[in-house]
């Protein structure tokens, strides 16, 4: 097979379609949700957009951090690959960019994302291919993941705790993609 050219992804900038909460106008509950004081300047537009609904912002962010950063279980780079697979299927270019770069950073290699962006599945290990294929099938509406996907993950050496971690990483990106893409644009 021919060599796959290695890519470097430049960060994208996300801009909301709707006006974010301005720090000066934020309610006490919105400020508490953002965990900042009114004098703080650097709160991202994404956080300020979602802070319009502080209840869901706090609950989802807590769950998101648990799923993506929990100790032990599935290696973090594999969670990032699940997130990337979901983001590509859901058409969230911004999320795909962020989590492709996270994968490259955590794995210390651009091999996987280069293969993926070049459409070269043959460049993926069996384990990475199993993760990605499962992420795509679980992200479909309705989900099409079946027993063969679970078997492939188990064959790649994953136990039930790790597969559960992967399910959650894919699913929380089904959520994040449905915020990031519909509520803004990236360039």
């Amino acid at each position: 097979m021919t060599a796959i050219p290695q890519i470097t992804l430049k960060p994208l900038k996300w801009t909301p379609h709707l006006p974010p909460v301005e720090m000066a106008d934020a309610t006490p509950r919105q400020l508490a949700a953002m965990q900042v004081t009114p004098s703080a300047k650097k709160v991202s537009a994404y956080v300020r957009t979602l802070a319009h609904d502080p209840d869901s912002y706090v609950a989802r962010t807590t769950l998101f951090n648990a799923i993506m950063y929990a100790q032990d279980g599935l290696p973090r780079e594999d969670r990032e690959l699940g997130a990337l697979g979901a983001s590509l299927i859901n058409g969230c270019r911004y999320c795909a960019n962020v989590h492709a770069r996270q994968h490259a950073r955590l794995s210390g290699s651009t091999a996987v994302i280069s293969a993926l962006y070049a459409g070269r599945r043959d460049g993926l290990s069996e384990r990475d291919a199993a993760i990605l294929t499962f992420a795509e099938a679980l992200t479909a509406t309705p989900p099409t993941a079946d027993a063969s996907h679970i078997a492939a993950l188990r064959d790649a050496g994953m136990d039930d705790v790790q597969i559960t971690d992967l399910i959650h990483a894919i699913a929380i990106f089904g959520w994040a993609n449905r915020l990031m893409h519909p509520l803004g644009h990236s360039d």
């Binding site: 648990a66 058409g91 679980l138 559960t164 399910i167 089904g174």
Partner: protein, 159 residues
């Protein structure tokens, strides 16, 4: 070990003695976090003018796409005719609900298709920025729940 079933384990149809309860107990923050999210999108402290009946109806409409009766049963059928129609995936008649139904169906099935114009449509029928954010979180939560339940069901069946 006794446990009170959470919405995800109910939606996944996990048996009381399922070994997956032990697997899930390794990540209590996922179980509790998902329950907190469910409360935050269905019955938040500040509902931003979107009452729990409307929120439940939207959630049920999204849940219809899952082909999962246990998950669907977590969203009771609304009593009023218009919200029942929304919840059953049927045609609704008021402009605000027409726009909401259309947006819900698109984001659930094909979020990549969404553009700024879709948010404009919601604004034109009267939804505020905060309400659009809250609706986005609500329907995306159900999409999350559908996928966790689907994955856990597969794990349970392939033991």
């Amino acid at each position: 070990m006794t446990h009170r079933p959470d919405a995800i384990s109910l939606a996944a149809g996990l048996a009381n003695d399922s070994p997956l309860h032990t697997v899930r107990s390794f990540r209590p923050e996922f179980v509790e976090g998902a329950q907190a999210c469910r409360a935050a999108v269905l019955t938040p402290e500040d509902d931003l003018g979107l009452n729990p009946e409307l929120r439940n109806a939207i959630a049920r409409r999204v849940a219809l796409g899952a082909d999962n009766p246990e998950l669907l049963s977590g969203y009771p059928m609304p009593k009023t005719a218009e919200l029942a129609a929304l919840a059953q995936g049927r045609i609704v008649t008021t402009p605000a609900l027409i726009a909401l139904a259309h947006h819900t169906d698109m984001i659930a099935a094909n979020p990549g298709k969404a553009t700024a114009a879709d948010l404009n449509t919601l604004q034109q029928v009267g939804y505020s920025t905060a309400q659009i954010v809250a609706l986005s979180e609500l329907l995306a939560y159900v999409c999350f729940q559908i996928r966790v339940a689907h994955g856990l069901k597969l794990l349970e069946r392939t033991k």
